[in-house]
């Protein structure tokens, strides 16, 4: 445990020195603020909590942004060290390969969490103080769900990033694969599903099947988790019409994202153990 902690400290310090955390937090804050301030204007005098609007717009932002950042943090972590020669050195120390991966995961998740909490937190607080809506009346629960699920979404793509990083021989390959994975999850997958739906619009396509096909994608699970988090967010995102039998329980959504975190992480460790140095 002590050794993992040593690895975590070093990895975090490295991220901090790289200006990664600062950059990340700054970009997150700016984007979040812009989006939420713009998004809160049209609510006017409706009875919708401005924070609910923020949750909806921020979750749409996160779906693109967080996977990208997590992949960028992770893709280089093993293959980059291998290229610099520090990986071989590290493994001659009394650390196991499992500890190396876990150390990186914990440190990167920590950095990501800081960026998400500060960035979105500032946006959330600004919004809730700006309007005439009472501070305590805001959709804080939805907002907390947004923070938590965003961290979880980050964890998913960190794990996938390590899996890429341990499997390839060169950094450039890892970068290309990471971009490909990102496109697949946040864009191509949904486009494919849409195409499937369009093709089967004359009936014959099982709605239940399409729903689960969609939710298998962790970014869609994330979307569903946040857009249906309250009646306000559901209303805003057009999810209100979803009949109750089509609702998916929060537990299932969290479980899907957790599996997407654990399975690639376990796979990454397994591949890493077999990697030729």
């Amino acid at each position: 445990m002590n050794r993992i902690w040593t690895l975590v400290i070093k990895e975090s310090r490295d991220g901090y020195r790289n200006r990664w955390v600062v950059m990340l937090t700054l970009v997150m804050t700016l984007l979040a603020l812009t989006l939420s301030l713009l998004g809160s204007t049209p609510t006017g005098t409706t009875s919708i909590s401005p924070l609910a609007v923020t949750v909806v717009s921020l979750s749409s932002l996160s779906i693109f942004f967080i996977p990208l950042i997590a992949l960028l943090l992770a893709y280089d972590s093993v293959v980059g060290e291998a290229e610099r020669g520090t990986l071989i050195l590290l493994l001659t120390y009394p650390v196991s390969r499992t500890e190396v991966i876990l150390g990186k995961f914990i440190a990167h998740l920590f950095l990501l969490t800081i960026a998400i909490v500060i960035g979105y937190g500032i946006a959330g607080l600004t919004i809730s103080f700006a309007g005439e809506y009472g501070f305590a009346d805001q959709e804080w629960e939805s907002f907390l769900r947004l923070l938590l699920s965003s961290v979880l979404l980050g964890a998913v793509f960190l794990s996938i990033g390590y899996m890429i990083s341990v499997a390839v021989k060169e950094r450039t390959t890892a970068a290309a694969v990471a971009i490909g994975i990102w496109l697949l999850f946040v864009l191509l997958y949904d486009m494919g599903l849409l195409a499937l739906l369009a093709a089967g619009s004359d009936g014959g396509i099982n709605g239940e099947l399409v729903k689960w096909l969609m939710l298998i994608n962790p970014t869609d699970s994330y979307r569903m988790f946040n857009l249906t988090s309250s009646s306000d967010t559901a209303l805003l995102s057009g999810m209100a019409g979803l009949s109750s039998e089509h609702r998916v329980s929060d537990t299932s959504l969290i479980l899907i994202m957790l599996s997407w975190t654990i399975a690639p992480l376990v796979a990454a460790i397994a591949i890493f153990k077999r990697r030729q140095l």
């Binding site: 002590n2 050794r3 040593t6 690895l7 400290i9 070093k10 310090r13 490295d14 020195r17 790289n18 610099r84 020669g85 520090t86 071989i88 050195l89 590290l90 493994l91 001659t92 120390y93 009394p94 650390v95 196991s96 030729q276 140095l277």
Partner: protein, 303 residues
């Protein structure tokens, strides 16, 4: 018990044989140099000693354990390793880097200052590594290998790219470690970079040990011919070719090989011929060539 004991150790990468049935033992306190050009199998051998890669066949025992086995992890803090090429994180300071490695080894941080002194980096220890010169980085790597006074020190090309003064410093550090009783395995692609303080040399060629012994012994054992180059007019060449074996008319010169102990008598005979010569060179084989030659002899090409 030997510190390192390799028994018919082999490693294949696909169908390429990187190491072929190596037998090698290094006794505690011994200092062995692995010499061979790039691709001779030095790094593969070192990686197997460190338990980084699994041998295809054969057995390695390092400080009493199989390096690929779980209990070897407990031995690792007694081993110091300097990789052939290592680029530490530029944005960390020398001190932070060594602290990280010392913590992993469970070594005391109190000794680190002394280590920085030892490798002449004390003044620079709180600077970022991005400000270090190549030699300083190499010295930091060496300091890293010395953390916790290892019982087994493995240095992969520790002096490549260093100026002569730094090289001397490396050897004086190695000597200190030896005096403390450490076993040392050092690799080099150039024999000229080695030092007399090395007890034994193992010459690797194409994954096989081509020669093993002290530098002095190897030099004595390998009696390789010198080459005598004679520049002379064409008429003279004809006379020369009647008297000696060799290659003639090579760019207007004759190249004759001659055993080292026959050089004087050869020259006497040449002078005795009383023919016009424009120039004469006697090329003794360098230590480097001796080893290359030896590698060729012991391990004939398979093709």
């Amino acid at each position: 018990m030997n510190s390192i004991e390799l028994t018919s150790l082999s490693k294949f990468y696909g169908k390429t044989e990187a190491l072929a049935a190596i037998d090698l033992a290094v006794a505690p306190g011994d200092c062995l140099a692995l010499v061979g050009h790039n691709g001779a199998g030095k790094s593969t051998l070192i990686k197997m000693v460190l338990g980084l890669i699994r041998p295809t066949s054969g057995r390695a025992v390092v400080m009493g354990y199989d390096p690929m086995s779980a209990p070897f992890n407990g031995i690792r803090k007694k081993i110091g390793f300097l990789p052939e090429q290592v680029l530490f994180q530029n944005n960390l300071t020398g001190w932070e880097t060594l602290t990280f490695y010392a913590r992993l080894k469970g070594a005391s941080l109190k000794d680190l200052e002394g280590l920085f002194h030892r490798v002449d980096l004390y003044e620079a220890m709180n600077n970022r590594i991005s400000t270090y010169s190549k030699g300083m980085r190499q010295r930091l790597g060496l300091a890293q290998a010395l953390i916790g006074s290892p019982e087994l020190l493995i240095l992969d090309e520790p002096t490549s790219g260093l100026d002569p003064a730094s090289r001397r410093n490396v050897y004086s550090i190695i000597n200190d470690m030896k005096r403390n009783g450490a076993t040392i395995l050092i690799s080099s692609h150039a024999l000229t970079e080695l030092d007399d303080r090395i007890d034994r040399v193992a010459v690797l060629n194409r994954g096989k040990i081509a020669a093993l012994g002290s530098i002095a012994n190897l030099r004595r054992e390998m009696n390789i011919s010198s080459e005598i180059v004679i520049h002379a007019p064409n008429d003279t060449m004809k006379i020369l070719s009647r008297h000696f074996e060799g290659k003639f008319f090579v760019n207007g010169a004759a190249r004759i090989s001659c055993p080292a102990d026959k050089k004087i008598s050869f020259l006497r005979e040449l002078i005795g011929l009383d023919i016009p010569l424009s120039d004469i060179e006697v090329n003794d084989p360098s230590l480097e060539e001796v080893f290359l030659e030896l590698a060729r002899k012991k391990a004939p090409e398979d093709e």
